[in-house]
Symmetry: D2
Subunit: 337 residues, 4 copies
């Protein structure tokens, strides 16, 4: 792709958290032109009236309309609404779709049909570059992974790739409040959540399905239990997951395995140093700490739920599809503190 190539992007659902993060990235992306930012509730308003931090950076407005004269469409709408939108709006095949909802993540539901049209069906590729990078590069449509799903898979993929996920897996992970979106709820009330921790959906989190699907993709016949205890954290951004399982690998072998698996993946980094959640906040990076404790392989994985876990990964997928530098627009300054 020549350096003059500019990707024209449209956004549906631009007023939510993932829409906002996508805008924050795309506004400074060297190869993207934002064609429209659609929002039913905010049509006609300045972007910076909703995403107030963007004041002074853009005079773009939300629109109530959209058009097909784009290269890529990002869907930042709620779960269930992405499929409904595409059912009602059969974009031409020339437009790539990157969907941030869970609507097309599961293999058996990864297609949408448009019988009798030129674009008779859209088939979605699960957009985790560390799993499917080569497929993504030629994909027409991307189902962007879930936030917990990304963090947990990145902690387990190298083992599945070797076919050595051979015992029950034990995972606890804590997410920031942005993981629950911007709607008001008792568990998102500051008075309740400040200084508080709580468990939810223990053993039942919906992301387990896409996690197991990916592990099975790499390790055929994978049938171990994956126990997952999600926590609500008293911070806004980031996920930290700790995971362990029985393993015959030494620590040295495990570190080597993980390091080799992620070699060439620019955002995922393996270390034996102690890591802490804030190291990756406001970046598209994932850090993975590998340790051996007795017969347990112990993995800690951290990433920003809104970036590597959502909008950042969506842009990473876009970069891959359009042949751009995988890190274009994504060399983000960490908040660090």
């Amino acid at each position: 792709m020549s350096k003059q190539k500019i990707v024209k992007a449209g956004i549906i659902g631009g007023a939510g958290y993932t829409g906002g993060e996508l805008l924050r990235i795309l506004i400074n992306h060297p190869s993207v032109e934002i064609a429209f930012i659609h929002s039913n509730s905010n049509a006609g308003n300045y972007i910076h009236e909703v995403h107030t931090d963007l004041f002074g950076e853009t005079e773009l407005k939300f629109t109530g309309e959209y058009n097909y004269n784009i290269d890529v469409l990002f869907l930042c709408v709620g779960h269930g609404d992405a499929r409904k939108f595409l059912d009602a709006n059969p974009f031409p095949a020339s437009v790539k779709i990157i969907d941030l909802s869970q609507d097309f993540r599961h293999t058996e539901k990864s297609t949408i049909d448009y019988p009798g049209t030129d674009n008779s069906a859209r088939q979605f590729v699960y957009g985790l570059p560390e799993l499917n990078r080569e497929t993504i590069k030629t994909a027409a449509n991307i189902a962007n992974p879930g936030c917990f799903a990304t963090c947990l898979q990145l902690g387990l993929l190298p083992l599945a790739a070797k076919g050595i996920l051979k015992s029950e897996v034990h995972i606890t992970a804590t997410t920031g409040s942005t993981g629950a979106g911007q709607s008001l709820a008792p568990t998102s009330h500051f008075t309740w959540r400040n200084d508080n921790l709580s468990v939810y959906k223990a053993f039942d989190h919906q992301h387990l399905k896409e996690i197991k699907q990916s592990l099975t993709q790499l390790q055929s016949g994978f049938d171990q239990e994956v126990n997952f205890i999600p926590y609500r954290g008293d911070f806004t951004r980031g996920i930290i997951a700790s995971m362990y399982l029985n393993s015959d690998l030494t620590e040295e072998e495990a570190v080597k395995l993980y390091t080799e698996y992620y070699a060439g993946h620019p955002f995922t980094h393996v270390t034996t140093r102690n890591i802490d959640l804030k190291q990756i906040v406001n970046t598209n990076k994932c850090f993975i700490q590998v340790q051996k404790k007795g017969n347990k392989l112990f993995i800690i994985s951290i990433m920003d739920n809104l970036l590597k876990g959502a909008s950042g990964q969506a842009v990473q997928n876009m970069n891959l599809i359009f042949g751009l530098d995988e890190t274009a627009g994504l060399r983000l300054k960490a908040v660090a503190f």
Copy 2:
């Protein structure tokens, strides 16, 4: 009052923040029996289903009814609703009323009339013990002060009592999120409020009216400007206010004045040491730091908005009315950290 005396208390609006704090205090108050806790929305539910921290301490339930067989009624309902409730429910004169709303705080609106009844009118006393303790002791009805109003007045009353509030007053104060109640609002969303500060109602806060009323009560003809900048803080409990004005007092004279004014008041304490907000969280205390800086008298005042600024002060008023130890039920363990 003999030690056998037990005050029978009823509560209207027991499901909100101030109702909850009141319950936390009264449940362990040595001289109180809770007769009923009324809540329209929670009638029939256990108290601990709403105020979940009380699980294991009480099997009381909310009721949809109330009766007149009580000594004192606490009104923990919204502003405007207290007057409406009393209009519709003329409790007998034998029942003392302590209202936590702003409905009866202003002199010109401190009465409710019941023409043609035995209890022809209820007159409310402004329930700030450091201002009106003797009057409170014989009061039939109490208008409990506002939270900011309490914190700011306690920083200024000794000067007004001497008639030396003779220059413009400059105040900035920051409140915890509980000050805004439990309703969900964008400014109470954890994602927004965490690590955030913001100004609201600058120069216009409704508590200015009751503050000026009290200052005028002590210093006849008080007519200085009181500039007040309120902030929303990123914590749940407490108010810290800093105030200054021109003054001829030396620091020594000012400390002496404040110390003497609050001598005998068990919850309000004067110091020259640096204070910080958390020192008083979860107590009924107010700390006041007095300094002289150039020609400015500089005062910092801290208290817990839900206790000294609301439910704790309501119990303090109850204690005074019924001749109990002023600190009964209010020697609360600070959270400290």
Copy 3:
């Protein structure tokens, strides 16, 4: 014991977090007189110069001396220093010792010898009332349990008591910053810890030893692995632990087992409702949520690390030893928010 009985208490190491919490409780305890509060670093200073929240409540001072004219001595010194102190200071047998360090918690180190004296040895009882209440009532010396150790044991004791801890146990628990004491460290720096989570001492936490000791006390021959991942939380008070293991119990059976086990224990309460950390902050309570998920019994346990996990439990033990109401001085108002 008659109501006139007053316990005279001395405190060694009164300037730290656990010493401060102990003071906050004892100052309002109806049956305790504080004889002295020893601190090497603060001798001669007012208590409220160190524990600044106590300003206005006490004019006690730290002392550099102590004496034997007391009923109970609380040791609030660092790990290792309790044994050293008692080695150097053989208090008479009439003085009960309650040690908050880990020095006497392990059976094989639960004794200190004073050869050739009247009080030839002190034998310490592990002071977890839910495990050893009857023994504590007649104990001369108490080794107060660790904070994580208390929270985790309370989640597992009923199973051990039935001898049905028959599979590997998986535990993740997060503690507030006060768990690490008041010394300054990079991991206690606000800039680092705010909004941050991190794992430490995974699989290796020192409290595992006392936990396994207690489980073995109830379930002879207990030999299952107890996997424990501790996290540093971005809050100051409280521990939340989630634990699971394979179990044949139905949820109904498990709830019944737990409820019966803790019947009569005034601070530990079993529920099937969702719990969250802040429900118990600033109280001596422990809440335990019991669920069955597939073949896993899933337990969440929450308590305040400084109270039920340290100073509150120390007072609970004192109450038991001296025949006082077990809850005396410990009906603390929760901070709730």
Copy 4:
């Protein structure tokens, strides 16, 4: 300047907060090559061992040496140490110096002499682009402004430029914990600072001197009192300042004045909308809200203390000196939440 121009930068004191922020910016700056990052305490270590968020982005190491083969030297050392360093190390005149300490900010101390050398003296320009942009463009040395100083001046400069700062000014401002650097102190302990607010250096903050110097530069003979109450906030990044003074301007006139003053300044933006601190965190922007309340002009100013208040502004100054786009490397993604 042609697009090929690359600025070679050296950093002294790279291990602190401002050094880290500078690195986070420069690593992605399109026109900068980092020649060395000096640190006495960390020589030989990888940058990402100290600034752990940079893991995966750079393999640079701290050095114990430095050389003169650079275009610009950033001094990120403590107050007092910058002058000492330059006294001992007379860099050639070809090297521009940008000092982040306060050592050269005050006019009477803005020079360092090297008698008998080619570079006989270095004269520092106060590096606030909104005050001195044209002078900065030709400056050899920059004294980078203080964080509070920047935030407060940006709220007042347009008035001084018109000569209408004609009454006492009242300012309260709250800063994040990074403002106090990374050294451990009781007021930076998480246990103390979490959920806490406190006042420090009221009326005495050292930044008042540079503020008054700038106001006098614009409004000759400025002699009004500037009352400044600084607070320590319970967040890590950002400053929010509220300021007011008597003014004859209408709100419309004031907004026009401010807007015109900052026209052409890419980072400072004027609004009448309500602003809140987090809008600018992790950016180089400053937002200024202008209101009229009675006879008071009321200004709120927010910025990130480590960026616009330190390292971001240092890079902005570098851009100006070397003829680069003023925003190069500084179009940073806000953390927003």
